[in-house]
């Protein structure tokens, strides 16, 4: 497959600017770039989801045009999305045949037995066992990804595009995935591997094309490059995240947050958190590592009062909380940066100024006797926008119009300006570019240096290793171990994340 001069504009941004690159049969070709470099836009164009404003796509020398995803599928292009495109209430088999039309599989009526047979055969061939009758929501994230890959193979794709496929996998699961990818490339399929992680790009690809701000920086064979060179191409300067936590002596420090035997249920009513014991001291950052869906959200919500606990005690500065009441948590000094920034962390249509007082609106000087004071809301906003370097046209700008990094700064500005004792931060840098990531990490460290006890819940191990004093691993709703960062080893944490240690 060859791509020539692909350009795609969105209101206010050019997401792809004259992109050229090619993938050969049997090749694993990495598309490397940081968040916002245009990788996802490009893959959406290659799969017919978006239409390019300019440029052409060639398959085996033939120019092709995709008007809809159907055309790309028919041309043999398959995509494994980062956020899986699976209908959660459907079975594996139903997800596989969805939209599929070929000679053997086009009748009006569905034939479950025939379909199951075909799935089992594929699963055997690629060593990806699944139960065709299982429902998606019953599967682990790793299993869901297998379904996502099988779905593409089921359609006989010759070109596979994988968007950040390892982001939700444990290191071990990622290794299994790489095995499968090599197997598929060995059969002559072309594989496009999209990632922003340098080490895995070095581990799996034959060649690497680097994107930066929507443009191709260059294509290099893996054998002739180094991690350092790729990093420079990707960011345009030598990257090193400057923010790193200096060891904090926890001896003698007061306990900011303590959890004793805390249990809670998930959204579907099944127990999701079991007997969690955890302590965060003032000025300390405790990282919670784990694959998404192992109780992280429940943990954060139990502490912040957004979810009722079924057992145990949560203590803030030594005093127990009633729990299940966000307002109580706020009053006790628990700040929260949720992973769902735009839907939960802010009211998206309200202005930046209003979102900055989303919690402080109850108190003087923002309001007195039930009435708000617009001038004070505005001056509060101007002050925080300056102090936290929030890039917004004005305090009246609807918050949804800000970039992800600036929304996160609004959140942090609000949470930290309330002088919290405890900060719970969930995936605080996911989806942010390098500069914003660096800024957010800086804010977290400043807060910790100012005495805030921080619980950092993140799937990004590198982030946890950079920021945390201690690392707790969450697996299946249990803390499987707590280690000092100095003694922790990434392999060991990976095994614990998979429940193996």
């Amino acid at each position: 497959m060859t791509v020539r001069g692909i350009t795609k504009r969105f209101p206010g941004v050019t997401a792809n600017d004259a992109i050229d690159f090619e993938v050969l049969q049997g090749e694993i070709h990495a598309l490397l770039g940081e968040n916002g470099a245009g990788k996802s836009t490009l893959s959406n164009i290659l799969t017919g989801l978006y239409r390019p404003d300019e440029g052409e796509i060639y398959l085996r020398g033939q120019a092709v045009q995709f008007h809809a995803p159907r055309d790309a599928i028919a041309a043999g292009i398959g995509m494994v999305h980062q956020h899986f495109r699976l209908a959660a209430s459907f079975t594996v088999a139903e997800n596989l045949v969805l939209g599929h039309r070929d000679a053997a599989d086009r009748g009006l009526l569905l034939e479950p037995d025939v379909i199951d047979g075909r799935i089992n055969e594929l699963a055997r061939r690629y060593r990806m066992p699944v139960n065709p009758r299982a429902r998606i929501w019953q599967l682990s994230v790793g299993e869901q990804q297998r379904v996502e890959i099988l779905k593409v193979l089921y359609r006989g794709a010759r070109v596979l595009i994988l968007d950040e496929p390892t982001s939700q996998l444990t290191p071990q699961e990622a290794n299994d995935l790489f095995q499968t990818l090599r197997l598929m490339a060995g059969e002559g399929r072309a594989i496009i591997f999209i990632s922003h992680k340098l080490d895995e790009v070095m581990a799996i690809s034959n060649r690497v094309t680097v994107l930066r701000r929507g443009k191709v920086v260059g294509t290099v064979p893996r054998a002739l490059t180094t991690t350092r060179e790729l990093a420079r191409m990707m960011v345009g300067r030598d990257v090193v995240f400057t923010q790193k936590k200096e060891g904090a002596a926890k001896d003698g420090r007061q306990v900011a947050l303590e959890l004793r035997n805390v249990s809670a249920r998930g959204d579907l009513g099944v127990p999701a958190l079991h007997d969690v014991d955890l302590t965060v001291h003032m000025g300390e950052i405790v990282g919670v590592a784990g694959v998404a869906g192992n109780g992280q959200r429940e943990l954060a919500e139990v502490i912040t009062g957004m979810r009722h606990r079924t057992a145990g005690t949560v203590l803030v500065a030594g005093r127990p909380t009633r729990g299940g009441d966000p307002l109580e948590a706020i009053r006790r000094g628990i700040a929260y940066v949720p992973d769902d920034r735009l839907g939960t962390g802010v009211a998206p249509s309200l202005s930046v100024a209003e979102n900055l007082v989303l919690k402080a609106f109850r108190q003087s000087p923002i309001s007195t006797q039930g009435f708000l004071h617009p001038r004070r809301i505005r001056s509060n906003a101007l002050r925080l926008m300056q102090r936290f370097n929030i890039g917004a046209a004005s305090p009246d700008t609807p918050t949804r119009q800000l970039s992800g990094g600036n929304i996160q700064k609004v959140l942090l500005a609000r949470e930290l300006s309330g002088n919290p004792r405890v900060l719970v931060a969930s995936s605080p840098t996911s989806g942010l570019d390098v500069a914003a990531t660096d800024a957010v990490r800086g804010l977290l460290l400043d807060a910790a240096n100012g005495g805030v006890g921080t619980l950092l819940i993140s799937e990004d191990l590198e982030e946890i290793f950079a920021l945390a004093d201690r690392i707790a691993v969450l697996y299946n709703g249990r803390i499987t171990g707590i280690l000092d960062r100095q003694q922790a080893h990434i392999e060991q944490i990976g095994l614990m994340m998979a429940g193996a240690a």
């Binding site: 995803p69 599928i73 495109r85 209908a87 959660a88 045949v97 086009r106 569905l110 009513g269």
Partner: protein, 320 residues
Amino acid sequence: MINDSLLVVIVASAIAYGTPLLFAALGELLAERSGVLNLGVEGMMLIGAVSGFWAVQTIGGPSWASLLMAVIVAALAAAATSLIHAVLTISLRASQIVSGLALTIFAGASGLSSYIGHVADLGGKPARHEFAAINVLGLKDVPVLGPILLHQNALTYVSWVLVALTLVYLYRTRPGLHLRAVGESPATADAMGVNVTAYRYIHVLIGGALAGIGGAFFSLAITPGWIDGMTSGAGWIAIALVIFAFWRPELALVGAYLFGAFSSLAFTLQARQVHLPPEVFASLPYLMTVVVLVLVSTGWAGKRLGAPASLGVPYVREER
């Protein structure tokens, strides 16, 4: 005789009164399965009622042909009405709630249906033909089963076939699978090459057509004739029924007859000299709708089991 017993009479008339609810609820169910909530059912039913009655008065030919044409006209007119909702909500991304309300105001009582009825001067006229109960195989006097199953009108029998067809369609066919995917996760369906827009349009239109047939049942079977606003809230009850039925056709059948029973109770009991203010009976279907909805919405069912996950959410592919 047992066929005159209260229970048998109530069940038999519950089926008669439940049939229009069943048609409308099946239609709404299909639309909602595609992810589009249409609160305009009441308006579409009234369009069906008035246009069906107009057709039966205007189109000649033998009784069966005239009635058949009337049903077709009612279905087409109501489907055309639902097209407005489809364009506004699917293509123009308008709020499904407000658009549906607008549809009911536009088409409903003292709206377009009333305008058509007055312009065509349909008020107070007796129907030239009506759907009468069929004495199937001459067995209407068979104890219990006769009046209930073998003495209903043609549209009721059609509705039974429709329930079966909907079941097969949803769970056994490829387009049915696609429909469920479109309502559940349109992004997934889209990425898999299913035309989300087309599926939504088609099922909103089918929903409109079935609501129209349900409306025609009022003007051609229950009270043959035309009165402004004659469905008196049946469209809203049909919407509640879909929730009650957890978006499953077979449960919609059960629910429709349950509410049919509440609607018919007023007439049945009054005929039996039960002396209570008529308003008590008349308010029964409305109050029971509230009660049933509350029961369904709390407890284990509170998780909205069966609700299409993206019901009410417009699908937009190219937005960041």
